[in-house]
């Protein structure tokens, strides 16, 4: 793998020339894909350790893969969370709604209704099942692909679309890039476009909760690529130093835009193993197995609530679509990866499990899919009454200058007056203030 220079930079000695290793993914566009090198243990094999176990006793969990749903569509082993059918159906319904929502919003961007969108196709379980394992008032610090949390917590999808359209009903006043939601009411932190910044913030929130003797815990999500950011390592240090009640979820979807996980260190070890150096519990879980995700999250939440410390969970999954509407993965990875991915699709797997249990059938599945599509369609129509991006129905002009500070200082008052003057020239017919 080493990339050696053709001739050494300096002659005259007999030491071997040093060589730089630049990681390269196994498959590029057009390549046949073979994932047989991935170690996928059978579902149900792993024991479930006590939630207060010392990290040094459970180091193996950072290198293995917790799996519950087997190829036989049954739940196996000690990690089976044994959820009742109603909860399983709700989980399936949330994931189906997320997928339907993503489909429609992606299309909306292509139709020019907004500037940008990001799907989470194939990763729905890592936010939906994870959020369901938390209490609804546990604080979450998501990254940009956790729309499933808002769906689980009942945030109105029409408000999500208003935000995506940056229209006059956008609760964030048209200030944020689409999908950078925020909802204090749903204990959902404001999403940042700068990666991994949410990690130390989640730790700080958890520290505050512990300082105050509260019972709520915090959880954060980041991609495997951004574990390379200093913020992630600061978060791990603070989380363990203060034994903060926090869960750090690393969504290893294999790709950070066009850079494969090797550029974040995946050639050397797992992301869950990052926990071990900090003396933190680390779990590695099949991220396309909603039951395994739920179980791992529940374990970590119980651990945090028992003052037994933070947990890092690596969700091993696959980004089935492009990074965003601005990305075309055909330019850098093999299109066969998605179909060959050995852990399947999280929605299909849970659906088959419910059918196997006799609690679901294809008829109900078809009805549910139709219902999701109809709900999203209706919400989209509702949101479009408030405008789409670039068509004038945005928040009033003066809101541009509000909330920079709690009070408007003189220099922003002067600049606001300038903006109002400009408006009369740029848009003479405009009536709004």
């Amino acid at each position: 793998m080493a990339d050696r220079p053709e001739k050494p930079a300096r002659g005259g000695h007999n030491k071997p020339a040093l060589a730089l290793h630049v990681p390269e993914p196994k498959f590029r566009p057009g390549d046949a894909v073979d994932f047989s090198h991935l170690e996928i243990p059978q579902a149900g094999l792993l024991a479930r350790p006590d939630e207060t176990a010392h990290p040094s006793q459970i180091g193996d969990f950072a290198h293995s893969l917790i799996r519950v749903l087997g190829d036989d569509n049954k739940a196996h082993g000690a990690w089976d969370p044994k959820l009742d059918p109603e909860t399983l159906r709700a989980m399936l319904g949330h994931m189906a709604l997320v997928r339907a929502f993503d489909e429609r919003m992606f299309r909306g961007q292509r139709q020019g209704k907004t500037s940008f969108y990001m799907k989470c196709t194939g990763e729905e379980a890592t936010s939906v099942a994870a959020a369901m394992a938390l209490a609804s008032d546990d604080m979450v610090f998501p990254s940009y692909r956790q729309q499933g949390i808002l769906i689980v917590r009942g945030y109105p999808i029409v408000d999500m679309i208003n935000q995506i359209y940056s229209n006059k009903a956008d609760k964030l006043k048209g200030r944020q890039l689409p999908i950078m939601y925020s909802s204090r009411e749903h204990s959902f932190f404001s999403i940042s476009g700068n990666l991994a910044t949410q990690c130390p913030q989640a730790v700080g929130w958890a520290m505050a909760s512990a300082i105050k003797g509260d019972t709520r815990i915090a959880a954060t999500w980041l991609g495997e690529g951004s574990t390379a950011e200093g913020d992630f390592h600061s978060a791990c240090t603070f989380a363990t130093v203060y034994n903060a009640p926090v869960i750090l979820n690393v969504i290893n979807n294999q790709w950070a835009i066009s850079s494969f996980s090797g550029f974040a260190g995946a050639e050397r070890t797992t992301f869950a193993a990052r926990a071990l150096g900090y003396g933190m519990a680390g779990l590695r879980v099949d991220g396309n197995d909603a039951l395994a995700v739920y179980a791992a999250m529940q374990w970590a939440a119980n651990r945090a609530r028992a003052n037994a410390g933070p947990t890092l969970i690596e969700h091993f999954t696959y980004r089935a679509e492009g990074h965003s509407t601005s990305d075309d993965p055909a330019g850098y990875r093999s299109a066969h990866e998605r179909e060959e991915w050995p852990l399947g699709d999280p929605i299909m797997r849970l659906k088959r499990h419910l059918i196997e249990l006799g609690e679901w059938d294809l008829e109900r599945q078809a009805a549910m899919d139709l219902d999701c599509a109809e709900r999203v369609k209706a919400a989209t129509k509702e949101a479009e009454k408030n405008g789409i991006l670039g068509h004038g129905m945005h928040h009033p002009f003066h809101t541009m200058f509000e909330d920079v500070f709690e009070e408007l200082p003189w220099h922003l008052k002067e600049q606001a007056a300038q903006a109002i003057r400009e408006r009369k020239v740029k848009w003479p017919g405009s009536l709004e203030e």
Binding site: M139, F141, K171, L172, K173, R175, Q176, M180, S182, S183, R184, F189, S190, S192, N194, T197, C199, P200, Q201, A202, V203, G204, W205, A206, M207, A208, S209, A210, I211, K212, A218, G230, D231, S234, A235, T237, F238, V241, D403, V404, F405, E406, P409, W410, H411
Partner: protein, 353 residues
């Protein structure tokens, strides 16, 4: 009439004999706020048991407990990052960055997160943190313990930048900063922690107790952010300064017998533009003094504002006296420092016609 608060320290001096240096005044402000507000948290490298490398947090952990005042890992990114999260929870964190020169690893958390949180979340979340940090040179700290990076923060929308120059102001401004619901950078000029500084580095150090503004009232009081202080009224010229340079400029004007109006800005953002305009319109001449590097320094902003708003009152071009655009040199510290010679030259230039 300017909105600036005139000689506030001097007025209080008559009421009390109590004299504090800047460190004691800052310590007292933190102590008062820890006692008044259970949501105030003080944290930073070495601030807990030990009480801080400059002693600003001495005794606070013992008095208020380990979960209110505590040491942190050596990670400025982590310190600011967890402070943002604590603010989102509802606490009012007061992190210390041991030297302003160390603040850069925390810049993403300050600039992209703390400063933008209120705006981007449409008031869902705020970041009411006060980041205290000693800044400035004159202590042979070399290039990593001497910098004045205030202009980095004044350039960022959503952050307030506050710099006291006396014990009296340090206490009242710090209390206001902690109570403020926006993120505040509170730079403490470490050269004057223990006494005002004339700029004549070879003269004996003056202790604070001989300075009128070391009279610090007991208990809680606030000095509003965004209000300058007129240190000395005068007619010949306006001097705009903050931190250590207030004292240096004052000493030089005194030594040269210049009837200058000296304005201690105290808050750079939001700036007390009324006080500046009123003074420059009166004197017709303006000198700006700061220790930070020159290019794109805060003096450039001040010079532009004075020129834009007071041009027809000016009788001479605005003068800027600053540090040089080099790293802060260790052995040549006093060659770098914008002291009496550089200030004197600017005064002469400003008054020559």
């Amino acid at each position: 009439m300017s909105a600036a608060v005139k000689q506030q320290g001097a007025a209080d001096a008559a009421d009390t004999e109590r004299r504090l240096n800047m460190i004691e005044a800052i310590n007292e402000a933190l102590d008062i706020m820890l006692a008044r507000d259970p949501d105030v948290i003080v944290m930073g490298e070495d601030v807990g048991y030990f009480g801080g490398v400059f002693r600003c947090t001495a005794g606070l952990q013992e008095k208020h407990g380990k979960t209110r005042v505590f040491d942190t890992p050596i990670s400025e990114c982590g310190i600011i990052g967890v402070a943002v999260g604590m603010g989102a929870y509802g606490l009012r964190p007061v992190p210390e960055i041991q030297f302003a020169d160390y603040i850069y690893p925390g810049l993403d958390q300050l600039i992209s997160e703390a400063a933008r949180l209120r705006y981007r979340s449409a008031c869902d979340y705020i970041a009411p943190l006060t980041v205290r940090s000693p800044f400035g040179g004159g202590i042979f700290g070399g290039q990593t313990h001497s910098q004045s990076p205030e202009a980095i923060f004044t350039h960022v929308s959503g952050i307030k930048t506050v710099i006291p120059s006396t014990p009296h102001d340090a206490k009242g401004l710090l209390i206001s900063a902690i109570e403020d619901n926006d993120p505040v950078i509170f730079f403490e000029p470490k050269r004057i922690y223990n006494g005002p500084f004339s700029g004549y580095y070879d003269k004996p150090v003056e202790p604070w107790k001989r300075h009128k503004d070391s009279a610090v009232p007991e208990g809680y009081y606030r000095i509003p952010l965004g209000k300058a202080r007129i240190v000395r009224e005068g007619e010949a010229m306006t001097v705009l300064a903050y931190g250590t340079m207030v004292h240096v400029a004052e000493a030089v004007c005194r030594a040269k017998g210049i009837d200058a109006e000296i304005i201690d800005l105290r808050t750079l953002v939001p700036l007390d533009i009324e006080a500046i305009e009123a003074s420059v319109r009166k004197t017709g001449r303006c000198m700006i003094v700061h220790e930070a590097t020159r290019t794109s320094g805060f003096g450039a902003e001040l010079s532009a504002l004075v020129t834009e708003r007071c041009f027809f009152h000016l009788e001479a071009p605005v003068e800027r006296v600053t540090g040089f655009d080099t790293p802060y040199p260790h052995s040549l510290e006093w060659a770098y420092f914008p002291g009496p010679v550089r200030i004197g030259e600017a005064i002469d230039k400003l008054l020559k016609d």
